[in-house]
Symmetry: C2
Subunit: 431 residues, 2 copies
């Protein structure tokens, strides 16, 4: 009987899960899947947790329950501190694990292009924690306005920096929240008077889309009372202040809440390689999603920079990560069998973004969809890709419900820790 | 036309909501409902959030959406710091609100009978935040055990202090979690080997129930591998240690997680009265849920000590709070009309507690139910009392789902704030 090979996969995102799925079929392979958190997060819907439509559990599913039946997969919730490439070992806080093959799929986090001081004044949107913080602060701003109508105008002013899909979708659903969902819940203020400003440095929103769709998205967001500012570069951010350089010169905007959706960078794990990185700290991999000097190491998804034939980097979207995950898995199985490898090739099926109720833009195989049809396609595809049946049911119900009642189901401000609680929290962090 | 009277209600728990409901019908009354949080919490199911069966949004519903259509009700999310009884004003952080009538329904919080130093070493279960902390730490203890099987025994040791309904229900559902839900998800440990110890100072579990049911509950919990210790008084608590005085002398137990379900006390708001309190800081009210010197002030629910004819204090359960809420509302309407008041009378419809899947004890109008029938009654009643239709649907699905699949749907460890996040959290607390 042939010896078992051990594959270690770091990260249970879209890429990592696809890789496990494919590898686990080969019972002669033993797999260890490591993630910092205990759940797979369906990031494309994270903004709906922020806008109080969905609950965390709707878009997060325990990795263990996904691997439940795959007996050749061991799941560890842990953080990888380093990689000993020469001895083929990954290093955790307090132990080492040897691998025959390694797949790096650690993903990306909010990036500030070196301006880490802006982090303090803005809210990112990459983790559940981020999403819940945004939700809490947005909902609290309305509560505070109801208590102090005199300062409602300032309190209900929100800036979203970054006109990519995340920024566009978040702006759309925050506009919906304030303009058509909670507007009858208050007695002293009119939440429809809230101001949502979406800032994009380039000439178009969702630049990765076909230009027509970018223009459509802008028009529709403006119809939903979102103020869209294009060609506006962020020069600096301070407490409740954003300093811009626009085509009409410099501008300073104020807001109660500033959300940063302008950039991501690979998680720092990658720094432990002595390999070339791009300015977003993404690993530059070869045509095989691997490294010439370490063919047993694969790197996929948002944490890598893969350049196709014509030198163009692939975008940091789930489709790329999933295809690379499946590729890495079969590449490893081929290596074990001693087969010849073909380079990775990405097939772009298209992209889509929602602007709000019954409205989305989709660019599928070059065909453009907008409005309600676009929205239906968006809904269908997201439900289809949602991992875990229970989540599908629960999300569908939640959506149908908020669609019928115009209500945001998850509109709760979670108790934030007070001093006493923070103390015992720090205390339990030790555990 | 007669002048509008202003009723201020503090607390949107079971008592407060019943009072609003009844008062709002009279359009000549203006109501202001104040709560620290933006949601009504269905506390009887809080333990199911702790045991990862339900999500916070399942048992919390925004107060605003409940008051949505009641135009004579204003909801404020705020904290009452004091009450100026002479000028009939409540004092918030930064403003005063005048009232004609006041209903105090601020509820209870975890109480340590003066041993507040125990708070640091134990976890309470009164808020959503508490429940999520318990969930996070329990789930993390299993994750850590999977990484370090050598110390699994210590890591999977849990103590629950307090044999009332909360303690019993939590013990039952934690036993279920470790023994039949997640036991196949791990490769290096057997979660069924986890140890759950339930400690009660008195001679019986759920002492408020008929003795037969107490005995039944104990037997069933022990069958589910919960170690029940009766007649065991907690003398002291230290880091992972509980010191007991039992019938067989003094004992010291160790555990990874210690949960405190042994006592509650009224929230401190009440201290602003110069009125007699019992040792649980509960206000001692007269036969009218009011105060002889302040007949315009009513106090109801967990935050008061109401003694019936034979001097027995009513228990701190939702049924009492709801009946007192309705009573206070009609009493105020009678006062306005100048009618004579009848003293408050509590009708005990009975009580119920679940021990786990398909098993509960119910004591309804003196008739005792156990096992599956008891469980069905428990389920029906809780769904019936759940506020908000969406919640009912979502809970029903979640329950049906976990019932069919033996899975805990909300089994996710929510990202806990790191240093950076805690910093910007403290920062946003200012907002």
């Amino acid at each position: 009987m042939k010896e078992t090979k051990h594959v270690v996969i770091i990260g249970a995102g879209f890429g990592g899960l696809q890789a496990v799925k494919k590898l686990a079929k080969d019972k002669s392979i033993r797999i260890t899947l490591i993630d910092r958190s205990n759940h797979h997060l369906f990031q494309p819907l994270l903004y709906q947790v922020a806008s109080a439509v969905l609950s965390p559990a709707d878009i997060a599913i325990p990795i263990r329950s996904l691997m439940h039946k795959k007996k050749n997969v061991t799941v560890l919730m842990d953080t990888v501190t380093e990689i000993d490439k020469e001895n083929k070992q990954i290093i955790l806080d307090d132990k080492r694990i040897s691998y025959d093959y390694l797949i790096l799929a650690a993903g990306a986090k909010t990036g500030y292009f070196g301006h880490n001081d802006w982090m303090k004044y803005t809210l990112g949107l990459k983790t559940l924690f981020d999403a819940l913080r945004i939700r809490n602060l947005i909902l609290k701003s309305f509560e505070k306005a109801e208590n102090h109508p005199e300062s409602a105008k300032e309190l209900m002013k929100y800036i979203i920096i970054g006109g990519g899909p995340t920024g566009v979708e978040l702006a759309g659903s925050l506009a919906e929240l304030s303009h058509s969902i909670i507007n009858n819940d208050f007695r002293n203020i009119d939440t429809r008077k809230s101001e949502i400003i979406l800032i994009e440095g380039g000439a178009d929103l969702i630049p990765s889309f076909n230009r027509e769709l970018s223009i459509y998205a802008k028009k529709k967001l403006e119809k939903r009372n979102v103020r869209v500012m294009l060609n506006s570069r962020v020069m600096n951010i301070e407490d409740n202040k954003v300093f811009l350089k626009t085509s009409e010169g410099e501008k300073t905007l104020t807001a109660n809440i500033i959300i940063w959706a302008a950039g991501v960078e690979a998680v720092n794990l990658n720094n432990t390689f002595g390999l070339p990185e791009d300015k977003q700290k993404r690993l530059i991999v070869n045509r095989y999603c691997s490294f010439d000097e370490y063919p047993e190491i694969y790197a996929i998804g948002d944490s890598v920079n893969f350049r196709d034939e014509d030198g163009k980097s692939l975008p940091g979207v789930s489709a790329v990560a999933m295809q690379q995950g499946r590729y890495a898995a079969s590449a490893i199985r081929d290596l074990i069998k001693g087969k010849e490898l073909k380079p990775f090739k990405y097939t772009d099926k298209g992209s889509m973004a929602t602007i709000g109720r019954k409205d989305a833009v989709a660019d599928i195989f070059g065909i453009k969809f907008t409005g309600f049809i676009g929205w239906l396609m968006w809904l269908g595809l997201h439900l289809f890709y949602q991992v875990g049946f229970k989540n599908k049911v629960s999300i569908l119900i939640t959506w149908m419900w908020s669609y019928l009642t115009f209500g945001a189901s998850a509109r709760l401000i979670q108790d934030t820790p007070g001093k006493e609680e923070l103390e015992s929290m720090l205390y339990s962090l030790k555990k």
